[in-house]
Symmetry: C2
Subunit: 456 residues, 2 copies
């Protein structure tokens, strides 16, 4: 029988009933039969009372495995530890992979953290303490310290023994790392390599070297790109002396890719799209800051337009096309911005230089501006039977699109250079800048032709 | 020594020099020492003449492994086959993983395809033929047919023999699948499971069952979500009778996640952001269609505004705030759209109902609209010393934001329901609809207060 996601969901009701009915043995049987991800899904739906019962029915090891798969925000997961006895919580933390435990403990109160760390075996506690110091979004912050290490002068047979012994604790056993003196990373072997070589061969004869690795302070996005390009299942992390201190596995990288793309998308939309709330109040609080900032930035455009109020009073037809010009230039700017942001995110070596990208955008702007401007010129000319007006609007649109394209490529590159994430803040700057320049260009071109426009 | 990406890049110059100097043996040594991803990076930079030489120096098997790692668009890779003798091309294709070969052959001309398939071993040719029929973006289109299958009534020892034998060809050996009669999928075992059990244990006693699997016609985005949630390295693909026909590995899924998020981002920005060109002409061709469509859609707003031209003539101050109102409502609509698109993409079970989401957006719109409206009312009231005008603009903004929020949540849900990808086409609809309603609301509210506005 093939298991589908639906059958799992039917099961969750039965399991919760068993918990309510205090049938400990049956509950354990059914619950532990599920994949940890499914266990976690059920767990996060429980009430506090049900959770208290679950902690009694399951061992800290079982709960720890399940906590590795929880998808709630760490600042919420940390509260579960407070519901447990300190020793039970410490055991749960001890069972979890260090990277996952650290994510959550980063949100614990100082005194709780100290309490847990005292109750956790010393070695693990030291690892947690160290990892808590790595900066967010670096290799150090997402790495796991549970990996298999072997040495060069052992045989394939003895390496296989090490792997079997550590199979239960290591995050992956499919890559094993060869270390030399001082824990220096020397080589790597896949389990596939080990299986296809004779038992008596020496590790240093068959290991892959040099090893592709990342440094503990590397940006998580770069690590993700490397794993993606090379189709690795894991990559080793070294400190500044080339010592192996952790690994990053592909499942952590998928979360990174997801997080980064959600950020890009959110940046363009001006909202945290992972807003999980169904409360209009919380949603409003999430969205209002950007809306107000954009409104205030937009007021600069409004102020600029108001300088031309007398011109509008004389030729009200001009007002009709403001939004068409600012809108189209804004669209062009967003296109150019999106292309630039994606290129920056990919960080590939063979990218055209900054200067060249800028030049490309300039000519792209001129070309798209010319075609779009010609289109609107014809439409307005025919619609309003006034080709002077059509020409003014067409010219304004062409200039505005060219400027917007330049801004769309210039601003994210500038932000990247000064160390600000271009995805987050570029959007509103582009649209404000492009609105301002569009209005300026439009009314100044219109001014030149005012006598012809008035005549109409 | 830890290898970094930079040292690889230095090497590529040396390797190309060896190729130019016709030093076949040394070229082979240096080139094949690189990771296939790096080999592919160098390959795609070669000239046609250099490539011809490379085909002579390397075996079809070596080129096939490298082609598995090529990141160029398949429609371009297919042209390389034309540079080879048909038999050599067939051997390269035979060596590649079926899923990768199929991606490329989908772009081959009919007569070329027939030629290659005739020269490829029958079994593989049949697989390729079948996979060419799977719809794009389904599990069938991205699956690989190189997996390890064992049966239930064999021992761990004999299963390990099967794995070792197939280690060179299978896409992954870290998951092995247990099949029953008629190739039906019965269970799964990780290599970790096998290593931690006694050699004499029977597979059916230790296999994990039931197996989480996907059907050949399932959407690739759903497959990606499952692999991500469960942290799998691979997932089996079954046909409608539950027969195992392929697997999808995590590296293919990373590409899917990347592709899907790029699509969402591109949809919001109205441009294919993976545009890799540095030619302004090509970039313009890529961007113009959306720009023109958006311009034409925007003309409906312009037409609507032109209906109120006489009102603007009487009170030109009204014109100044059009872009502020349409802009802010557009921003609110984009926020609401982005949240809805992300929710649809996640396809989680515990999502609020359609109706409830709609209600949440309505109240979110009212709340954000009220705060934003109040802000602009105060700004305009103080700036222009005219609180009636402030009230008109504030009211209009509040109504316009509420409507935009509703549209932003309604349209993507509707599109999803009728089977159109909401990420691709929603953006322009939202902004057009929100512009139109904003203008309509604004001028109708203004009309009610016209006598007070004229007084100013």
């Amino acid at each position: 029988m093939v298991k589908t996601i639906e059958t799992t969901h039917d099961k969750s009701d039965i399991i919760i009933q068993l918990l309510n009915a205090q049938k400990a043995r049956q509950f354990r049987e059914e619950y532990l039969d599920l994949h940890v991800y499914e266990q976690a899904q059920i767990f996060t739906d429980l009430t506090e009372k049900q959770r208290a019962r679950l902690y009694r029915y399951l061992t800290a090891e079982e709960v720890g495995d399940m906590f590795d798969a929880i998808e709630e925000e760490p600042e919420e997961v940390v509260n579960y530890f407070k519901e447990m006895t300190p020793q039970y919580a410490a055991n749960v933390i001890d069972q979890m992979y260090t990277d996952n435990a650290v994510d959550i403990l980063a949100y614990a109160q100082k005194k709780d953290l100290a309490k847990y760390l005292r109750l956790i075996p010393q070695e693990k506690a030291a690892e947690i303490r160290e990892m808590l110091h790595y900066e967010d979004k670096t290799a150090g912050a997402i790495m796991s310290t549970e990996f298999v290490e072997i040495v060069g002068n052992q045989t394939v047979r003895s390496a296989m023994h090490v792997i079997k012994r550590e199979a239960d604790d290591a995050e992956t056993i499919y890559y094993v790392y060869v270390i030399g003196s001082n824990e220096k990373l020397r080589g790597v072997l896949t389990l596939r390599d080990l299986l296809t070589h004779d038992d008596d061969e020496m590790i240093e004869d068959i290991m892959t070297t040099p090893v592709m690795s990342v440094q503990v302070s590397d940006d998580q996005a770069e690590v993700a790109q490397t794993i993606r390009d090379y189709n690795f299942l894991a990559i080793p992390v070294t400190d500044y002396d080339g010592r192996l201190i952790g690994i990053i596995t592909v499942d952590d990288i998928i979360d990174v890719i997801d997080e980064e793309s959600a950020e890009d998308y959110s940046g363009l939309a001006g909202v945290d799209t992972d807003e999980e709330t169904n409360s209009p109040l919380k949603a409003a609080v999430n969205r209002l800051p950007w809306l107000i900032v954009l409104l205030l930035l937009g007021m600069s455009t409004t102020t600029l337009i108001s300088h031309y109020e007398s011109m509008i009073g004389e030729a009200s037809i001009l007002a009709i096309f403001i939004s068409s010009i600012t809108g189209t230039a804004g669209n062009a700017g967003t296109q150019s911005l999106a292309v630039a942001v994606r290129r920056l995110a990919e960080k590939e070596e063979d990218q055209p230089s900054w200067y060249k990208q800028f030049l490309t955008e300039f000519f792209t702007g001129l070309l798209t501006g010319f075609v779009t401007g010609l289109t609107i010129c014809l439409i307005v000319g025919i619609w309003k039977q006034n080709f002077v007006l059509g020409f003014v609007i067409g010219m304004a649109m062409m200039c505005a699109i060219t400027v917007a394209n330049l801004a769309g490529s210039f601003i994210p590159n500038l932000m990247d250079r000064i160390g600000v994430d271009p995805a987050v803040a570029s959007g509103p700057f582009i649209s404000t800048l492009s609105d301002l320049t569009s209005v300026l260009i439009y009314f100044n071109i219109a001014k030149l032709f005012m006598q012809f426009l008035m005549g109409k």
